[in-house]
């Protein structure tokens, strides 16, 4: 059964790059929302309930902060609703802040999905014979965030157990949490250099490499790559028409014909996973 992760690393790279470029270049709200939902569902398939809940809390907090920040500092738009520090807060800004918050959340979840699709071996496979430095940097960068998360959980647990968070002040506890968070990700970043050292010890930068596992570029990979390139080309040509704008008045939300193709691409991972799941259960029923 073909799962989404089994596509060629090049196909996956192009796919995720395409999603991120479309998201930030065109900023179409419908695309952004659908991207977030689809990739969140795709990511959740491989997670337990606690991780999903934690992720939702994190994403909601991050989005909330971005919305507040945007509303506080942006004063564009033509339809004021209320005034903050003598500055107008408009419906356009509110809408913009919601869309941007979801865009950041969608970027974050795309990154999480990418980490699952790209274990170290795929990154090394893609990059090592082109640039060893890039291979090390990318592979360690991709592992940085998961390792940072693990380190953060360990340190939080240890610090909670010795009473570090026993203060009554919420602000102080929040400050300490942020401090530990920064410390953990910094340590995880430092540890990536240690991994580099271990890789060098095993001859990583010593010359041309061979590969234990080769990834086949199948017909499906070909179709996806060509479709993505064509879609992107069409979208770039029609950039003026397709790009969404928020100010001074926000653009009417319409679904351009090309966006249907984008929706298909966005839903691709979850469609393939569901198909694989159905197929597997069908074969299982025959055992």
């Amino acid at each position: 059964m073909l799962t989404f992760h089994q596509f060629h690393p090049l196909t996956l790279t192009l796919y995720y790059l395409f999603l991120l470029v479309i998201l930030w270049l065109f900023k179409a709200p419908i695309v952004i929302f659908l991207l977030f939902i689809s990739l969140f569902l795709f990511w959740s398939i491989s997670q337990n309930r606690k991780s999903i809940l934690n992720e939702l809390v994190f994403v909601a907090s991050l989005s909330g902060l971005i919305m507040l920040f945007t509303i506080y500092f942006y004063h564009n738009g033509a339809t004021p609703i209320f005034y903050l520090n003598d500055q107008a807060v408009t419906t356009e800004v509110i809408f913009y802040s919601i869309v941007m918050a979801v865009a950041v959340a969608a970027t974050w979840i795309t990154w999480q999905a990418l980490i699952i699709s790209f274990p170290m071996k795929k990154i090394i496979y893609l990059t090592s014979n082109r640039s060893i430095t890039l291979a090390i940097a990318l592979s360690n960068f991709v592992r940085w965030i998961p390792n940072g998360k693990i380190q953060f959980q360990k340190v939080m647990e240890a610090q909670q157990s010795i009473g570090y968070f026993s203060s009554q002040s919420k602000f102080e506890r929040m400050y300490k949490t942020v401090k530990i968070w920064m410390n953990s990700y910094y340590n995880a970043f430092e540890n990536t250099f240690q991994k580099s050292a271990v890789m060098h010890e095993r001859g990583f930068k010593s010359g041309k490499r061979t590969h234990f596992q080769h990834y086949r570029f199948r017909k499906t990979d070909c179709i996806i790559v060509v479709s993505i390139l064509i879609t992107f080309f069409i979208m770039v040509i029609n950039y003026a028409q397709l790009r969404y704008y928020f100010f001074p008045l926000r653009k009417e939300m319409t679904v351009e014909p090309i966006y249907w193709l984008v929706f298909v691409f966005i839903s691709l991972p979850i469609i393939i996973q569901i198909k694989g799941w159905v197929q597997w259960h069908y074969y299982k029923s025959k055992i």
């Binding site: 170290m120 157990s161 010795i162 570090y164 203060s167 060098h200 010890e201 010593s206 590969h211 234990f212």
Partner: protein, 555 residues
């Protein structure tokens, strides 16, 4: 011809005193060379300088030659094909998420063809018996399996020399023994040269060909095993305590025999007619009040999982030290977390001084009066220096800052107070972590693998400190693989098996019924005094017996 020659090697970080000075070593093909010495003596720095790719940043003098050619003249590819390196921490060495890719990585780097890779990996998997976990994720492997994977990943590249830096430090006693036996096979069956730094020397003396003792960065003695033993005995060197107990006994009693193994030691003792006198076994004396009572606690990580802690019950009295043993992954650390409040059990109760403890909220995961040392002590530190961390902790918990000087003096960590926690050695970190826990004057101390990274002498200091704390009324629960340390330190020992604790007994009563999970001294003494667990007791009993025998002979 010498395979590896180290000549006048001196290394220092910039603007600091040398870490290693004028080291001279010659290693021949097929040697099993053990390098030992106290923590911080420069052993790891020496190993790092054997591998060009991992050279520490600093000032290096002298030369390392491989097959009579300076190692710097070898390309990296040639170097990694000749010398393989296995580090102390199995988790930090693993790069990939799956076992198969981890095995293949080194071969990919040296340009081996895919077909040859498959053959070599297949062979290594058979040799190491890894078939059952070949397709596992590396995150799911036990510590012992991870270290095996590291060794296999190194050996698959077919190096001439395998260098290992305290490879058994994080393994339980049985996994450690198996690992050493595997190294012996690799040395004898495959002819690989082994260079190993270790603190656990007893099992290495019988199999090593050569040894080197390094202290304060300087080479004290280097030679065959016999030469080293002779040096340690003749100079009454404090490292004599690292000799196998059978050999220590022979030396202390002035016997001519040279027993390196348990088997040889038992033969010698039999020839001396030992074991005729009867002795009373020490039992536990638990008259002090109960400080901690764990009653029928059950815990599992998720609804559909099995219980990791199943109906666990025991008591810890005031001024008592109890050690818990068990395999990696059996639930010992989880038990400590359940007691300290980091894990909420779904059934059962915990009482401290007779008061039932409530479940803790996610914010307050610490019970009053309990201090818990995690397996990774570095997670206790978040500031730039040890002293700063202690002071911030005192502020956070409203503790008097006078306690900082008290614990620094108690743990003798004055020299490291201004250092960054990441710059400390394993042993220094353990001491600093314990010091931090003692700031709050806990009544109950939970220690998870506290002797990891400590050499023999540091362990003795640590032991004396724990005894001192115990005598001041502190109750201490230790999870450990260090059987010798537990035998010397504990009032009671117990085994975590099948998600439960078996009955707590005195070390003598506990170990006498075990054949594998027991200190080497007990394995040696078992046919004669099955309740002897520390060397001094064995020596004293034999001296009693010899005294009795001598008296009989003189009549």
């Amino acid at each position: 011809m010498a395979l590896l020659q180290i000549e006048n090697l001196t290394f220092s970080h910039y603007d600091s005193k040398p870490i290693i000075q004028n080291l001279n070593l010659t290693i021949s093909e097929g040697d099993f060379h053990v390098i030992f010495g106290p923590s911080g003596s420069g052993k790891s720095t020496l190993l790092n300088n054997l591998i060009r790719a991992e050279k520490a940043v600093g000032h290096l003098q002298g030369e390392v030659r491989l097959r009579n050619k300076p190692i710097a003249q070898y390309s990296i590819r040639q170097q990694v094909s000749e010398i393989g390196f296995v580090r102390q921490n199995p988790h930090k060495q693993i790069i990939f998420e799956d076992v198969l890719q981890e095995l293949a990585f080194g071969l990919e780097n040296i340009g081996v063809s895919q077909d040859e890779m498959k053959i070599r990996i297949g062979e290594i998997v058979q040799f190491f018996g890894m078939q059952n976990w070949l397709h596992e994720k590396t995150d799911h492997l036990s510590g012992g399996q991870k270290q095996l994977l590291n060794l296999a990943s190194t050996l698959v590249m077919n190096p001439t020399i395998i260098v290992l830096d305290e490879p058994t430090a994080q393994l339980d006693p049985i996994a450690a023994k198996e690992f050493i036996q595997l190294l012996q096979r690799i040395n004898e069956e495959l002819g690989k040269t082994i260079i190993i730094v270790e603190h656990r020397l007893e099992s290495l003396f019988p199999i090593a060909t050569h040894m080197t003792l390094i202290e304060v960065g300087m080479q004290v003695c280097s030679g065959t095993v016999e030469e080293i033993i002779h040096f340690l005995q003749k100079n009454d060197h404090h490292f004599r305590k690292c000799l196998p107990p059978s050999l220590q006994l022979a030396t202390d009693l002035g016997w001519d025999e040279f027993p390196l193994t348990i088997k040889d030691g038992i033969k010698v003792l039999r020839s001396k007619n030992i074991g005729k006198l009867a002795y009373e076994s020490k039992t536990m004396n638990r008259t002090s009040p109960v400080r901690l009572e764990v009653k029928n606690i059950h815990f599992r990580y998720s609804k559909n999982a099995i219980d990791l802690l199943e109906d666990v019950s025991f008591e810890l009295h005031k001024g008592e030290i109890i050690s818990i043993f068990g395999n990696n992954g059996s639930g010992k650390s989880t038990l400590l977390k359940a007691i300290s409040g980091q894990r909420n059990f779904y059934k059962g109760s915990i009482l401290i001084d007779g008061v039932k403890q409530k479940k803790l909220s996610a914010r307050h995961l610490n019970r009053e009066g309990i201090a818990s040392l995690p397996q990774d002590p570095s997670t206790l530190f978040i500031e730039d220096t040890i002293e700063k961390d202690f002071l911030k902790y005192c502020d956070a918990c409203a503790i008097s800052k006078d306690n900082v000087e008290r614990v620094i003096s108690l743990l003798q960590i004055e020299a490291i107070r201004k250092q960054h926690p990441d710059d400390l050695s394993g042993g220094e970190l353990q001491k600093a972590a314990l010091a931090k826990l003692l700031l709050n004057n806990p009544q109950i101390l939970l220690l998870d693998e506290p002797t990891k990274g400590l050499d023999l002498f540091a362990k003795e200091q640590y032991r004396q400190l724990l005894i001192q704390l115990k005598n001041n009324g502190m109750s201490i629960l230790i999870v450990t693989h260090d059987l010798e340390f537990a035998a010397r330190t504990s009032d009671g020992c117990t085994l975590f098996f099948d998600h439960k604790l078996v009955a707590i007994k005195s070390p003598q009563q506990f170990f006498k019924q075990n054949n594998f999970y027991t200190p080497t001294v007990n394995q040696l003494a078992k046919p004669f005094f099955d309740d002897v667990v520390i060397y001094e007791d064995l020596l004293s009993r034999i001296q009693d017996e010899m005294g009795v025998q001598l008296n009989d002979n003189s009549k």
